[in-house]
């Protein structure tokens, strides 16, 4: 039962992703071709709202509903950030989907999403196996 809140938030997140059409390959192509503001508006306004929310949380030292102090970890730089980022970008333009949208597509009944998720798992597994040999 302690997971039900994450199921609820995930479901809402999936509905929002689908409603905003960011799970569409066509929208991603439109974005990379700079032919509409839609994707930039979605991502940009999400970041602005997230930023303001985090500032409010920090300044008011808000706690979680169970009373713990909220902790935000800092991300550390390594060369994998941009190398891996570039590799993901290639895949993003091919599949027209990042991981969240892949799962929303699966729910919406796109058969290809199942293949792409299995391939993404294979990619993650391969990265994990090669991790020590890659540049950072």
């Amino acid at each position: 039962m302690k997971y039900i809140k994450y199921l609820a938030l995930g479901t809402l997140f999936g509905i929002i992703l689908t409603k905003s059409e960011v799970i569409s390959w066509f929208r991603i192509q439109e974005m990379f071709r700079f032919q509409a503001f839609h994707m930039y508006g979605v991502i940009g306004s999400a970041i602005v709202v997230g930023m303001v929310s985090i500032q409010l949380i920090k300044r008011n030292r808000l706690k979680t509903i169970s009373g713990e102090p909220i902790v935000l970890a800092d991300k550390k730089f390594n060369h994998g950030i941009w190398i891996g980022g570039f590799i993901f970008g290639l895949g993003w333009a091919i599949t027209g989907a990042c991981p969240g949208p892949l799962f929303a597509q699966l729910g919406s009944g796109v058969g290809a999403a199942a293949v792409m998720i299995l391939a993404a798992l294979a990619g993650t597994w391969t990265y994990s196996a090669l991790r020590e040999k890659l540049p950072y």
């Binding site: 809402l12 999400a46 991300k75 941009w82 970008g89 991981p99 799962f103 919406s108 391939a119 993404a120």
Partner: protein
């Protein structure tokens, strides 16, 4: 003109209508942004979806790999969140309804017709590339298998995807995430503007 129905009767219909249409960016974007504080307030969790791929690998095929040998059960919330996304996609697309085709710009339709020879613009993805039958030729392997592989490999190498770096990371003013997002876009632009013209 007077309204045909009183407000308390027409409001539910207006809401249903709203739920059946795609949402503009200024509705959807802020709601996606609110997921960041919601996860923090509910359980001190950072929004990030690609980690779920790692947890599934750790749960199913750890194979003695150090990076996949950890207590993935402690991250089960992430898997439940992702399960919710699947459910959300089902509820939205199957129960609430959606338009026949995504209303992309006329310029994009023109370019995709001219450059990639696409003719069918219905649904979320072009069937000419993503129909399962395409796994019998190179298109299916490139678009579904290679594409998916690069998404899984690249996100873990970069330590996050659009949700973890672009939304969650940039919201928390992490410059590392900005580097990642520049990488995402560089890769996407390279594929769209350099590789696609060579493939088609």
């Amino acid at each position: 003109m007077s309204q045909p129905y009183p407000l308390f009767l027409s409001l539910p219909f207006a809401m249903l209508d709203f739920l059946q249409q795609p949402w503009p960016w200024y509705v959807a974007g802020p709601l996606i942004g609110l997921t960041v504080p919601a996860l923090l307030l509910v359980g001190n969790k950072a929004l990030g979806i690609s980690s779920a791929l790692r947890h599934v690998c750790a749960a199913c095929v750890p194979a003695g790999i150090p990076f996949l040998t950890y207590n993935w059960r402690a991250e089960a919330w992430n898997l439940v969140f992702v399960l919710g996304i699947v459910l959300g996609g089902f509820i939205d697309y199957r129960l609430l309804g959606h338009p026949e085709a995504v209303a992309i710009s006329a310029a994009t339709v023109h370019d995709l017709k001219a450059e990639m020879h696409l003719t069918d613009f219905s649904g979320l993805l072009p069937k000419e590339l993503f129909a399962l039958g395409n796994l019998a030729n190179w298109k299916g392997w490139v678009f579904m298998v290679l594409g998916g592989f690069l998404v899984g490999f690249g996100t873990r190498y970069a330590g996050g995807c659009t949700s973890g770096h672009a939304i969650s990371g940039l919201s928390n003013l992490q410059w590392v995430s900005l580097v990642a997002v520049v990488g995402f876009f560089a890769g996407g632009l390279f594929m769209t503007w350099v590789v696609y013209p060579m493939l088609f």
